[in-house]
């Protein structure tokens, strides 16, 4: 059964059709929520709330945009709502992101400066860096690298031009790179030491 048929049936109240949709997307929704919140329990809450909202509003979903686009938009909103409720919001104006150097909290490297982070520390470092991004950039990176949306789909979801999406993803990645490099040893040791320390002038 193709997706549009499933959606139509779900709109008509077919619970089994809705469950099919849940099965198709729950892993992606969870993965996105986990990247955003960095907490397993929160990510479960987000997943639950996301599908609940989708269930309630599916009557209003119009087939002009793709279902997954709408679903991910709801996911992001739920993530943001959760952060708001927890008081974990740090809004950053998008145009300031280029040269803003944000501090991120990372394990103390004073005693083992050359040690590459353990997996858990890498996860922490990455999450801290992602959280340091402005919300729009964070959304784009996660949609692209966790949910695998194309640039066009991201553009549609965020109601931006594709060119804007391209340049913002590029800037977000650059920023992530710089944060991770400056903050510690996220990256595998490189062959050449000259590569460490970020951009050269």
């Amino acid at each position: 059964m193709d997706e549009q048929t499933l959606v139509r049936r779900a709109q008509g109240g077919d619970r089994r059709a809705f469950e099919e949709l849940v099965r198709a997307y729950e892993a992606k929704v969870y993965a996105m929520a986990l990247r955003w919140t960095n907490d397993r329990e929160d990510a479960l809450d987000v997943s639950q709330e996301t599908f609940l909202r989708v269930f309630r509003f599916i009557g209003g979903y119009d087939a002009r945009s793709s279902f997954s686009t709408w679903l991910y938009r709801v996911t992001i909103n739920v993530c943001k709502d959760l952060a708001l409720r927890r008081g974990r919001v740090r809004e950053q104006p998008i145009d300031k992101d280029d040269d803003e150097s944000c501090e991120i909290q990372l394990p103390d490297e004073r005693y083992e400066p050359e040690r590459v982070f353990e997996k858990k520390e890498r996860a922490q470092a990455l999450h801290a860096a992602i959280t340091a991004l402005p919300e729009e950039h964070r959304t784009m990176i996660l949609l692209r690298d966790v949910n695998g949306l194309s640039y066009r789909e991201i553009a549609e979801l965020m109601e931006l031009e594709e060119g804007t999406v391209k340049s913002r993803i590029f800037r977000a990645r650059e920023k992530l790179r710089l944060l991770l490099t400056a903050g510690g040893n996220f990256f595998e040791p490189s062959k050449s030491n000259a590569l460490k320390g970020g951009q050269s002038e």
Binding site: R15, F18, E19, V22, R23, E26, A27, Y30, A31, L34, R35, R40, L44, S47, Q48, E49, F51, L52, F55, R56, F57, I58, G59, G60, R122, A123, L126, I141, L142, R144, D145, V146, Y151, K166, S167, I169, F170, R173, E174, L176, R177, L180, T181, F186, F187, E188, S190, S192, A194, L195, Q199, S200, E201
Partner: protein
Amino acid sequence: MKSCEFESAQISLLIDGLLTPSEEAELRLHLAGCPECAGRERELREIRMFLDSPEEKDIPPELHGRIMSALPPIRQKRVFEKSWVKAIAAVAACAVLALVFVRLPHRMNGFSASDQASETQQSDGDMIIKSPAPPEAESLLPEKKSADSMSENSAAGGANGLCAAEAAVPAYSEAYVYTGDVKKLNAETDFAGNIYFFQTETGFAVIMETGSAAESEFLNRLDNVNFSKTDKDAQTLYPDFTQDDSSAYTLYCLTAE
């Protein structure tokens, strides 16, 4: 030193597979000769691999169960789910909305606080808003005790006539979800299908089942009105409004010009 700004942007597109073969060839040539950019490419790929790695996404087995069990139960008992309601629900949605939009402008002109207090004042819009069962009404709203068929007929007749008419959207100065003291709301409400509507001090308000066809129709009719929504649910805003699943309703308020 060169800044490689252009090449950096290309690298981002490269890892997303968005370069043409010739662009890619050109970039790879650059990467071969620029350790800086080569490192950049490697690091970006590493970030992505980490974001996307299966262990990191380790899906909890309880995920599906939690999602499904959070959905509302399939058969919901509602306080107002009476047979006469079901009989006219679909028709009433359209009819009521059409009536609201066609009638209300007359009602709203000259509306003042004093009107609210006066039960005797009747203008043509009153029958819908104020009286639950107006005797003279070609009422589209069912009398609570009357037979289904009578309600159905008048509703159907009314609906056809009014829905066929292109009801102009009246002018509203403000549209919002009510956040004030709910006791100020006029408690006289009426009900048709899954819509409650009533007067407020400054206009009227409608409570509708979120995501319902009636709500879609309502919003379509008002597509040039921007609602500033709160996340409060109808139960919080209007405690007298009793039904089983209060969070599935949205309250829309409009203030007449």
